[in-house]
């Protein structure tokens, strides 16, 4: 049996992870990451609020395991919060949960686990690590509704070799059943859905509290100015509401581009949201990268259905062409690739830099920023 550090958020998923590992006979160490001080007035169903640390402590006491609250506020601010704000200010759509996993969990917390002489780090993510011909593989959770593999594509194989996702082959009701069987004090606790450091879900206000808004113009594709806006952080590719444009008789208009450089928000009709493919960079491949011409399944945001696509280039950067055009490719989000032959396997992915326009020739990318 091994010494295992469990990242305990105080929620039911990671609590069940701790309980299962204790039951299997492992030496379990509970660790709650103190990531930020969210306002205590709001509902605290988020992964970093002090009440959740308290819940994690109660569960650890219940299970009879040591538990520590470790301070990662500084790293979280640098790696996740500041980047979240900067992404919005640069016209990107941020993906803070991916960054949190990459930096806080798979680097800092894993390193902490190694310092504590633990063989594994376990988390309550819905995903699976499976041994493969080229080292550990990352797979989707059995429960596709809960699957979080999209958020985990940045894990290195070094990390995956020491990571456990013990509830990746369970569905949520089964997890609740285990929690009840162990009489965990959080067995009936509500789900946390929002980004943990913005518990009220008002991202725009959060950005405004942490940066000076970047105002600019709303333009159409021909460059005609349709109006002004108070800050590009309020706009995301594919957005239809809140454009502040006078209602017209024409087709509905959507945000099709946000420029961090000029502050311009470009709008167009729905057809202009369609992209033939995308370019991504800062790629991570779990095992050998797909060679050019390989068919894959790709997701461009959490919860989007995997779309068939073909890899044109995969190394440090990625160029991907979809079998049929897809809607609202948002720079700043991750493009995560799954193996077309074994669709549960996460092949890797990268950070979307630009979409490839639907109509243009394959070679020229339409830089959105």
């Amino acid at each position: 049996m091994s010494r295992v550090v469990v990242a305990m958020s105080g929620g039911v998923d990671s609590s069940v992870v701790a309980a299962l590992l204790v039951e299997q006979g492992h030496e379990v160490i509970g660790m709650t990451m103190h990531l930020s001080d969210a306002p205590e007035t709001e509902r605290t169903g988020t992964c970093c609020a002090p009440d959740d640390a308290h819940d994690a402590r109660r569960v650890a006491n219940h299970l009879g395991i040591p538990h520590y609250v470790a301070n990662y506020k500084k790293a979280f601010k640098t790696a996740v919060i500041d980047r979240f704000v900067a992404d919005y200010q640069n016209g990107l759509t941020p993906s803070p949960c991916v960054r949190c996993n990459d930096v806080l969990k798979f680097k800092l917390l894993l390193s902490r686990a190694r310092e504590l002489d633990a063989e594994f780090l376990a988390t309550g993510h819905y995903a699976r690590v499976v041994p493969g011909a080229f080292g550990p593989e990352l797979h989707r959770a059995v429960d596709h509704a809960k699957d979080q593999s999209y958020f985990l594509f940045g894990a290195s194989q070094d990390a995956l070799a020491q990571v456990m996702f013990p509830i990746g082959d369970m569905d949520k009701p089964a997890v609740r059943d285990v929690a009840r069987r162990f009489e965990l004090p959080v067995a009936e606790k509500a789900e946390s859905m929002d980004i943990c450091f913005v518990p009220d879900g008002d991202y725009a206000r959060f950005v405004e509290q942490n940066a000076t808004p970047k105002p600019g113009r709303i333009v159409d594709e021909s460059g005609d100015v349709l109006g002004d806006h108070g800050g590009i952080h309020r706009f995301t590719i594919g957005q239809r509401r809140g454009l502040g444009l006078p209602g017209g008789t024409g087709a509905p208009r959507f945000v099709i581009g946000v420029s961090g450089a000029t502050g311009d928000v470009t709008v167009g009709d729905a057809s202009r949201l369609l992209a033939a493919g995308l370019d991504a960079d800062r790629c991570n491949w779990i095992g050998p990268p797909p060679s050019p011409g390989t068919p894959v399944l790709a997701r461009i945001r959490h919860r989007s259905a995997p779309d068939p696509a073909v890899v044109e280039l995969a190394g440090d950067t990625l160029r991907l062409r979809f079998d049929s055009p897809i809607r609202a490719v948002a720079p700043g989000q991750a493009a995560v690739l799954y193996d077309a032959e074994r669709p549960s396997r996460v092949w890797g992915g990268g950070w979307i830099r630009a979409s490839l326009p639907f109509s243009d020739a394959p070679a020229s990318a339409q830089a959105v920023d």
Binding site: A53, Y68, N71, L108, S111, L116, R282
Partner: protein, 383 residues
């Protein structure tokens, strides 16, 4: 085998305190110390005996203790009572205990006296702060570093400016002679569980007829601390106070163990020591390039109890305000650990700690070399 090196957080309950409390924690035992009946008188007598014992530990004659020793729920409340008793402008130390720093936040006029890199008050900067002030609160022996303040010059400055002096001596009792404190202070804060008594008891001593102004009304403690007394805890505090002379005698041996621990640690890693003149039992060590939080957790898992920094409300560790006030930067402050020893520690225990620490340090260095590029380039991989 577990080794407990966290006496500044709380010393293990000693046998005499335990024995003294048992009758007061026995089922069927009654008695409110305010009651006129036999049970009440017995409780009152026990409190009175405890008060005499605590007074004796400070050299206060039994005839005076009723007037000047007020039992509280602990040192935090004693500090609050002292601050409350002198409502005028307050001067405190940048390294004061959080109970003083946080307790002063509601006051209209508070000034913070800086300390020098060795943790002692900067007397030149202190003097102008005392002008027009009513009370100076000094932490005589710091809980985190053990740094001891020179009281005579502080007292001289206070007298020159007509400022009363509160001395938080929670960490000093049983570790340093109290005579120097009693000679200079107007108010003295004491804590039971730092000398092997139970938690939940403490005292404020008003030395020279300094006024006391109750935080909460009530006739108990001569109207200076309302609320039914916690008889068992006070009795335990009294019993522990009787052991103070012996504890003081044992401090030379504790200091030897502490020095042995330091010598051993210095041979294991690139380390530095915080504070110059410190309590005989306290060793605050910085481990260059390492993370104190991680070391403290590793030591706990290996069976050694130590502390680092100050716990925040969620239980995670913040960089120590005490070390920051001494001019140490935040990363270095986070690399520090506090070892605080007591009379029950043994030579063998120190050897055990050193051997476990050696293993832990080796592993930490390996993990850090693994993490190297991340630590050096804090997450700025994209423009």
């Amino acid at each position: 085998m577990r080794v407990y090196l966290d006496h500044n957080s709380g010393a293990p309950l000693n046998a005499s305190a335990h024995a003294a409390m048992i009758p007061w924690l026995t089922s069927g035992r009654g008695g409110n110390a305010s009651s006129v009946h036999a049970e009440g008188r017995a409780a009152r007598a026990a409190i009175s005996e405890a008060r005499i014992a605590v007074g004796a530990a400070l050299g206060i004659p039994a005839t005076s203790v009723e007037r000047c020793v007020v039992f509280t729920s602990g040192a935090t409340e004693a500090n609050a009572l002292a601050l409350h008793s002198e409502p005028g402008p307050l001067v405190l130390m940048a390294t004061s205990h959080p109970s003083v720093l946080m307790g002063s936040q509601r006051r209209t006029s508070t000034r913070v006296a800086p300390v020098r890199p060795d943790g002692t008050l900067d007397l030149e900067q202190l003097e102008p702060l005392l002008q027009g002030a009513a009370l100076l609160s000094v932490i005589f022996a710091n809980n985190e570093t053990g740094v001891v303040q020179p009281l005579p010059p502080v007292r001289s400055l206070c007298e020159r400016h007509g400022v009363r002096l509160h001395v938080d001596a929670a960490q000093a009792l049983g570790r340093l002679p109290m005579s120097a404190i009693m000679a200079h202070a107007d108010y003295v804060t004491l804590s039971s569980h730092k000398i092997g008594g139970p938690g939940g008891a403490g005292a404020l001593v008003a030395v020279s007829g300094a006024p006391l102004n109750a935080l909460q009304p009530g006739h108990q403690e001569r109207g200076r601390r309302g609320g039914t007394e916690n008889v068992a805890a006070i009795v335990g505090f009294g019993a522990a106070a009787k052991g103070v002379p012996r504890r003081l005698d044992e401090m030379a041996g504790v200091a030897r163990l502490r020095d042995r621990l330091w010598d051993g640690i210095a041979g294991l890693h690139d380390v530095w020591r915080n504070g110059d003149v410190v309590l005989p039992n306290t060793l605050n060590v910085g481990f260059r390039e390492l993370d104190g939080e991680s070391l403290a957790i590793s030591l706990d898992l290996s069976g050694v109890a130590v502390s680092t920094g100050a716990a925040c409300s969620s239980g995670s560790v913040e960089a120590s305000h005490v070390l920051l006030a001494m001019g140490i930067d935040e990363d270095a402050a986070r690399a520090c650990l506090r070892f605080s020893l007591g009379p029950e520690n043994t030579e063998d225990e120190i050897q055990v700690v050193l051997s476990r620490l050696a293993t832990i340090l080796l592993r930490q260095k390996e993990s850090h070399s693994h993490l190297g590029p991340i630590m050096r380039q804090p997450l700025q991989e994209r423009a």
